[in-house]
């Protein structure tokens, strides 16, 4: 496999954590003639799921297309996604019935969308988020069940968790994300040689020894503590799984181009330029983590709900601006708030493009992925939580239709969570609680 070496050498220097595709024809032999499955095993190319969160909504009249349906028109704030719109769905008019629960400013929208239940109090998610439920189905065969990252560097900025006060902590730096995925333990799927690390075998037996203590620990445990212990042992199994994956020679993956190192992060700060820089580094690394099949589920947050983003030299945060900036009568919107909205949409487009630039056979990585993007308010100035802007990008290997602006008609937002779970193979026909309970998937996008 001399070519393998030359290929790696050729790529060296071209890459700096960027998702770059370099055509290396001989590797195509790993795919079947349709480019849709791995030739060696016949297993279909993996389907991935992820979320992309941003805080503080949009200016609805400037963001939503004018007309529902396929081939929607692009409004000014969605301009960055124009080239990709056939692969992106827009969702409008989906609501969050509160059923007596409070509308916690910036605290209700995110958890309601993700867990299908409106939180009664702040600080914690009312139940498992649906990305976790999806990872339980599609994430069990990869090294990481899911990867979580936060571009603002705040590891608590996460909407992913199993409820009960648990929150999946997010990686706050690109370097941390790089080390976790591509550091020790990473196996290049396209490497000619594969030597299992004997230490891994030993670690495997250690973890199985720890797992053997389960029975003794469970004796005399109350129900809620038993559930928590169950979660611990689920995590332990994932750790064992990780070692198992590292002990197995991976399938070659043409799209996997191992980044040489993480790009230079800027210090975690509220300055939007730094956040964009760090977001793009994280996006590139996540894209490669997917292409190298180290995970099939991810969660990336651009900013927080009550976003502390600032522009250099200004005392006022994005969040303060949403409440305090005057609606410009001539323009019809808040110009300084809109600066942030535009930057966020550009970053979203960057992420989608990064996924779309990786070829997997005849398709792209984006085509084999569903990314669900959403905010936590519709119009932050008034904390409105109906009609919260939401999108999907990619079809998950043809599991959903794309290029459509869907009218929710005032139905519960949980329909999206239900639809996406079903698309990703979660056996569920009814999801959510109280007014958010639904058994009606979104027909417009169901294949």
């Amino acid at each position: 496999m001399k070519m393998e070496l030359s290929r790696r050498t050729a790529l060296k220097g071209v890459l700096n954590g960027m998702a770059v595709t370099v055509a290396v024809p001989f590797l195509d032999c790993f795919l079947d003639s349709n480019g849709e499955a791995l030739a060696a095993t016949g297993a279909p190319l993996p389907t991935r799921f992820g979320t992309w969160f941003w805080g503080l909504g949009v200016n609805p009249p400037r963001w939503y297309p004018k007309n529902f349906g396929p081939d929607y028109d692009i409004s000014v704030e969605l301009e960055p996604i124009r080239a990709l719109k056939q692969k992106i769905n827009i969702f409008g008019n989906f609501n969050i019935p509160l059923d007596g629960n409070p509308n916690l400013p910036h605290g209700t929208g995110g958890p309601s969308i993700r867990s299908g239940a409106a939180p009664a109090a702040g600080g914690r998610s009312p139940g498992a988020s649906f990305d976790v439920l999806i990872s339980d189905v599609v994430g069990t065969r990869t090294r990481f069940r899911a990867l979580d990252a936060s571009a603002t560097g705040d590891s608590r900025n996460s909407l992913s968790g199993r409820g009960n006060g648990n929150l999946n902590p997010a990686e706050g730096t690109a370097a941390g994300l790089y080390t976790r995925v591509f550091g020790p333990g990473f196996r290049d799927p396209n490497s000619a040689t594969f030597t299992p690390d004997p230490m891994l075998l030993a670690r495997q037996s250690v973890l199985s020894g720890v797992g053997d203590q389960r029975k003794a620990l469970e004796a005399g445990l109350g129900a809620s503590d038993k559930r928590r212990l169950d979660q611990y042992f689920t995590s332990l199994r994932q750790l064992e799984k990780q070692i198992e994956v590292e002990l197995t020679k991976p399938e070659p993956l043409k799209a996997c181009v191992v980044p040489g190192k993480a790009g230079e992060s800027r210090p975690a700060s509220s300055d939007i330029d730094n956040v964009i820089h760090n977001h793009n580094l994280m996006a590139d690394l996540l894209v490669m983590a997917l292409a190298c099949d180290n995970t099939r589920v991810f969660n990336l947050s651009f900013n927080q709900g009550a976003s502390g983003l600032t522009r250099q030299g200004s005392t006022i945060t994005h969040h303060q601006l949403t409440h305090e900036e005057v609606l410009d009568n001539r323009l019809g919107y808040q110009p300084n708030v809109t600066f942030f909205v535009n930057k966020i949409m550009e970053s979203w487009a960057y992420f989608v493009k990064a996924l779309d630039s990786v070829k997997e056979g005849d398709r792209t990585l984006l085509d084999n992925t569903i990314v669900f993007a959403h905010s936590e308010t519709e119009f932050a100035k008034f904390h409105t939580i109906d009609n919260i802007p939401m999108m999907t990008a990619g079809s998950g290997g043809g599991r959903i239709k794309t290029g459509i602006y869907v009218d929710g008609g005032g139905t519960p937002v949980s329909r999206l969570g239900l639809t996406l779970q079903q698309a990703m193979g979660v056996p569920v026909d009814r999801w959510g609680s109280k007014g958010l309970e639904t058994n009606k998937p979104i027909k417009e996008i169901v294949v």
């Binding site: 608590r156 648990n166 620990l217 502390g308």
Partner: protein
């Protein structure tokens, strides 16, 4: 008798021969408890490198309460596993090996169950905060032996087995177990080892030392007289400072400092050194008053005494010391600063409002954090239309802008309980630096708290100290911190605690002493319905055949 305060004098390492009682709580170790435990068990030179899965604070609760509900995610356990292997490598590494591995294996390339047991049994007792059961000891010896196969090294086997202990739920969680309460037939109370953990984490923020574990093994912590004597010595130990720091770190929401950033162009006097110094200044002030001086808790809000380092000099506009370290500093009697409310750590708001001061957010923090009074959230459909014209020259100060709230009945209900407190702090900007004017207008700092008026920070501090809610709040929080349970339904207990605190002249160590010796602290509220079937781990006496693998 072994002195539980001195770390020396341990009984020989033994396995547990008694039955383990039913588990009544599992509290996840906090980051500082984890770090302190590792430093105490293995030495301060062992580095703990890694990221800790955060324990999410429930609204208006202590993180300490959330530990009893906290779970460990796959990503969190992955980090704990990496830390565990890293720690185990350092401990068994040749440089430190002699401290922990007293025996020599017959063949360093082969398993040696006897030597492994000799090493792992005492370490296990410290990490699990009780002796290992025979089954556990045998399991870890077996793990060490199995790992020799792939690695070819007895010492690598030890490392891996030790790493296994460090990711065990028995280490990552403080597992609290109960036994029948001899004083109250039918009731159950925490057993001796669980009490040792409670005491040690409450008072010293670390794992129980050998002497305390010995006291537990002798049953002394369920004996009221012995318990009182031991607590007295712990409260008067210098290590009490760690416990007091950890408590106020939790009560005063210090996690906000982890993510706080300020724009250097707007706040040139704010930098990472300042950011690190802010919580430390606050803790030094508190520890000096409450521990070193054994002072009155209420003076925390009025004291002029604090500490500064070089980083803080420019922020406070005080002479900068030549030295790098912390030096005592006392503000003058007429200085605008007094008490912890006058410190930048308290005045710097969180991320969402980082740009400037907010009397509403500061007033809310005083209500919620210091007085334990929950302030409702603004309504979701809140309109800022009236408030937003902040650049209006007619309303240069926050007081004038906030006056809008009192004209609107929807707003005034809540703002009347927050703003009049926070307005007294308006002479301090978004990072807590002094200013006399805002937008060219003189700042009026007149304020009112529950009918008491003031126009200085010292006046506000005095009003807080004199407010029963403040002393009741800290007493209730301390009890919650000790037990990991909220006790808001137990008015009688909170009242009794506050009365005791009053009788003790509001000395905080005395409050901790009360709590640590109260039977209520260890009483298990009402047994969980399914916890009754107290199945016990299968144990055998350590001197039976199975003892020596």
């Amino acid at each position: 008798m072994v002195d539980p305060v001195s770390a020396s004098g341990s009984l020989p390492a033994v396995t547990l021969t008694d039955q383990l009682g039913p588990v009544v709580a599992m509290r996840r170790l906090t980051e500082s408890q984890y770090r302190n435990s590792i430093a105490d068990v293995f030495g301060p030179e062992i580095k703990v490198a890694g990221r800790f899965e955060p324990i999410v604070r429930p609204t208006n609760e202590l993180i300490s309460v959330a530990t009893a509900e906290s779970t460990i995610s796959p990503a969190g356990l992955e980090q704990f596993d990496a830390m565990a292997r890293n720690i185990a490598n350092q401990v068994i590494d040749s440089a430190n090996r002699d401290l922990f591995v007293k025996c020599t294996p017959a063949d360093a390339k082969q398993p040696d169950p006897n030597c492994a047991s000799e090493v792992l049994t005492p370490i296990g007792r410290h990490l699990f905060r009780r002796p290992l059961t025979v089954a556990e000891r045998d399991a870890y010896v077996k793990i060490a032996g199995n790992a020799v196969g792939p690695t070819g090294s007895f010492y690598d086997g030890l490392k891996l087995s030790l790493a296994g202990m460090l990711v065990s739920p028995n280490f990552l969680y403080v597992v609290e177990r109960a036994q029948p309460d001899s004083a109250h037939p039918g009731a159950i109370t925490l057993d001796n080892y669980s009490r040792a953990s409670r005491l040690s984490f409450l008072l010293w923020d670390t794992t129980p030392n050998a002497a305390l574990l010995d006291a537990a093994s002798q049953g002394r912590l369920t004996n009221q007289a012995e318990l009182t004597a031991i607590v007295r010595r712990m409260v008067t130990s210098p290590l009490i400072e760690n416990g007091v720091r950890a408590f106020f770190t939790d009560m005063l929401l210090f996690e906000k400092f982890e993510d706080m950033t300020k724009d250097p162009m707007v706040f040139p006097r704010y930098n990472p050194d300042v950011a690190n110094a802010l919580p430390e200044q606050l803790l030094r002030t508190i520890v000096d008053l409450l521990v070193t001086q054994d002072g009155d808790y209420r003076e925390m809000f009025t004291t002029r005494k604090t500490f500064v380092n070089r980083a803080l000099g420019p922020l406070y506009e005080v002479p900068v010391s030549q030295s790098q370290g912390w030096v005592p500093y006392e503000f003058g009697p007429n200085d605008d600063r007094a008490g912890i409310l006058g410190q930048a750590a308290f005045l710097s708001p969180g991320e969402a409002q980082q740009g400037r001061s907010s009397p509403t957010i500061r007033g809310r923090a005083i209500r919620e954090v210091l007085l334990c009074q929950a302030v409702p959230n603004p309504p979701g459909n809140v309109s800022f239309d009236e408030f937003e014209k902040k650049d209006n020259k007619a309303k240069p100060t926050a007081r004038m802008r906030l006056a809008t709230h009192s004209e609107n009945s929807v707003c005034s209900g809540c703002h009347s309980i927050t703003d009049p407190i926070g307005l007294a702090l308006e002479k301090f900007d978004g990072i807590g630096a002094f200013r006399a004017m805002e937008n060219g207008a003189i700042i009026d700092t007149t304020g009112v708290l529950d009918g008491v008026t003031f126009n200085t920070v010292a006046g506000l501090g005095k009003a807080i100290g004199a407010n029963k809610a403040a002393t009741q709040c800290v007493a209730a929080r301390a009890f919650e911190y000790a037990t990991g349970r909220t006790n808001r339904d137990n008015d009688a207990l909170v009242t009794a605690l506050e009365e005791a605190f009053t009788a003790d002249k509001y000395r905080f160590p005395a409050l901790l002493m009360r709590i640590a010796t109260m039977p209520e602290t260890y009483r298990v509220p009402s047994p969980k319905p399914d916890a009754g079937s107290a199945k016990v781990a299968s144990l055998t006496s350590s001197d039976q055949q199975g003892a020596k693998p």
